[in-house]
Amino acid sequence: MVDNMQSQSKQLGKMYFTVAAILFGAQILFGLIAGTQFVFSGFLFEILDFNVARMVHINALVVWLLYAMIGSVYYLLPDETKVETVGIGLGKLGFYVLTLAVTIVVLVYILVQVGPANEMSIWLIHEGREYIEAPRWADIGIVVVVLIFLANVYLTAMKGERTGIITVLMADLLALAGLYLAGMFYTNNISIDQYWWWWVIHLWVEATWEVFVAAVIGWALIKVIGANRQIVEMWLWIEVAMLFGSGILGIGHHYFWIGTPEYWWEIGALFSALEPVPLVAMFVHVMYDWGKEQGLQKGAGGKAQMNNTPAFLWFVASAFGNFIGAGIWGFFHTLPQMNIYTHGTQFTSAHGHLAFFGAFAMAMIAMFYMGVQGNKKELKMTKLTKYGFTFITVGVVGMTVALTIAGYGQVMIERAQFGATWEAYFIGQSSIWFKQAMGWRLAMGLVTFVGFLCLVIDLLTIKNAKINQES
């Protein structure tokens, strides 16, 4: 039995969480810059243009979630396998290499920005491909670090106990790492470029990341409310079947308009329409377990187990947010009949904000609280926990609603009425629907940032908060 207090793996997990939280802050800050540029177009013009702000905004998002995911695995590994993680020294080296690389990449993005049109720019500056802009040298570095991480996980699972949760994570992480390779080459055919690009973006986000989150929430239910492992793991397998069953071919909804054959319309429409189903299952699972465990423990005359209310708050909210953001907001515009008008408008942006937040960010924030709890028997919500949760959630939901309204205006004016030309685009952008909505989006972005500050202060102080010293 590994001593949790001394566990190097948990320490490493917390190091990953720390960097993740910093990058989360960077994501919001650069999002604010980009959001401001929509309202005041001269803001930082030709100093830090929208393309740079937006690149840092979305890359910080992807990288902070990856950091939080890797951290979560290092954090839960000793609990699940009952042994200390194998090769932890190498794992720590990987952490420092990755963090150094991320720092250099971000500095190059901000300071160099663009290069001449040759392969050297793609190797050294960025690849200019949304979400996976990291220059090629960093791509290779990421692959090496991920291989170290995989080795840690596999060797540990082989040495210790292998639970259902660990089995799912092992398969999932292998797929997650392997898919990254599909985005690491150059082609002069934009259709082929985008085809493989979606293998990274879609198959990560809508398949492997979703399965990852399902596994982490399963682990947390056992930890926090004492849910029955057998039931949790059975649900987990059901969710894996449904998530991969819909998510893998759901990639078709990105293949409607990039030059690919028309049969993707039917495949994309059918499977992406099924994608919300497992998200409902995940939600039912969380609520079912909570109710059942409470009932069982109360029936036995005891008190229901609940040893980390802040984490549980974020986990339950994530089950909600995943369904609403990924499920409902995704379903809004997933059918090709609809998508031909909404594709590439602020509708997509609205869906993206709520889906990433609800499905992944909320679950990973919950993991931050698990990390903060450490060996403490119980962690209760403080005022700041509630403020942080409220401001961040209201902020992101507010941004989503604003962007949905902007998207609505854009679809009606630019696409339906004026036919999607350059001029049509700017008529749509200058409509009152769009302009006011973008103002609200910026305001809601500021609310989110205030929430982020509350969250960070809470994470730093919650262990010493009065409320957590009483029990």
Binding site: A34, F38, S41, F45, E46, F50, N51, V52, R54, M55, V114, P116, A117, N118, E119, S121, I122, G128, R129, E130, G164, N188, I190, S191, I192, D193, Y195, M234, W237, I238, V240, A241, F244, G245, I248, H254, F256, W257, I258, G259, T260, P261, E262, Y263, Y341, H343, G344, T345, T348, S349, R415, G419, A420, T421, W422, E423, A424, Y425, F426, Q429
Partner: protein, 215 residues
């Protein structure tokens, strides 16, 4: 004595189901990928000259006039590749020359980070207009007049090199240090992209007077 459990509450049943469903979905995706890859490979000059339509035609499409028209059989708009048309004064680019230009343009589109303001084939950021059919955009005609250029390609190239001197809106494109050669490549890239069969996206492009068939 073993406890009797319903198959629906049996973890192993669901584990096997998960493995099978994932495997079948992955195999289907791989099979469809082979089919799609065949269909979206770039065509050749010979095919183009014989009038064989490809979803992604040969880069020598820059030697031709491209329009985007309603296809009654398919029920949506498709690119139509027409007679010869001069591109920077020539209409006899060889396969290699056209490919080199297209490649330079694609590289420039990445290294200049176009996708983090514009959308290409509808993917990217939403801060600037979609570039999918930008080559066919009627606005270039006013730019030809404004910048005193004889042809559309020269007007686009000029704009790409000095975007902030030629704004169309208060939201301007920044100067990205595009050289004359890179601009030429980018225009070839845009012209080629407008010839890709995108299943009718963007719908109703340029039909400002309204009506699906209207102009």
């Amino acid at each position: 004595m073993s406890k009797k459990v319903s198959v629906w509450a049996d973890g192993r049943f669901w584990q096997r189901s998960a493995a099978w469903v994932t495997g079948v979905a992955a195999m289907l995706l791989i099979w469809l990928t082979f089919d799609t890859m065949g269909q979206i490979q770039m065509g050749t000059k010979a095919e183009l000259d014989q009038g064989i339509t490809k979803r992604v035609p040969s880069p020598t499409v820059i030697n031709h006039k491209i329009t985007y028209e309603m296809n009654d059989k398919r029920g949506h708009e498709t690119p139509v590749i027409g007679e010869k048309e001069k591109f920077f004064g020539r209409d006899d680019y060889s396969e290699e020359e056209a490919m080199a230009l297209l490649n330079l343009g694609k590289l420039a589109s990445q290294t200049k980070n176009c996708m983090n303001c514009h959308t290409l084939l509808g993917n990217g950021a939403y801060y600037a207009p979609d570039l999918t059919k930008a080559w066919l955009d009627p606005n270039w005609e006013s730019y030809m007049l404004r910048m005193g250029k004889e042809t559309k390609e020269e007007a686009i190239a000029e704009f790409l090199q000095h975007p902030s001197d030629n704004p169309s809106n208060e939201r301007m494109m920044p100067n990205l240090g595009v050289t004359a050669e890179e601009a030429k490549g980018l225009v070839a890239f845009l012209k080629h992209m407008s010839s890709i069969d995108t299943n009718g996206f963007p719908r109703n492009f340029g039909k400002i007077e309204g009506g699906i068939h209207g102009r």
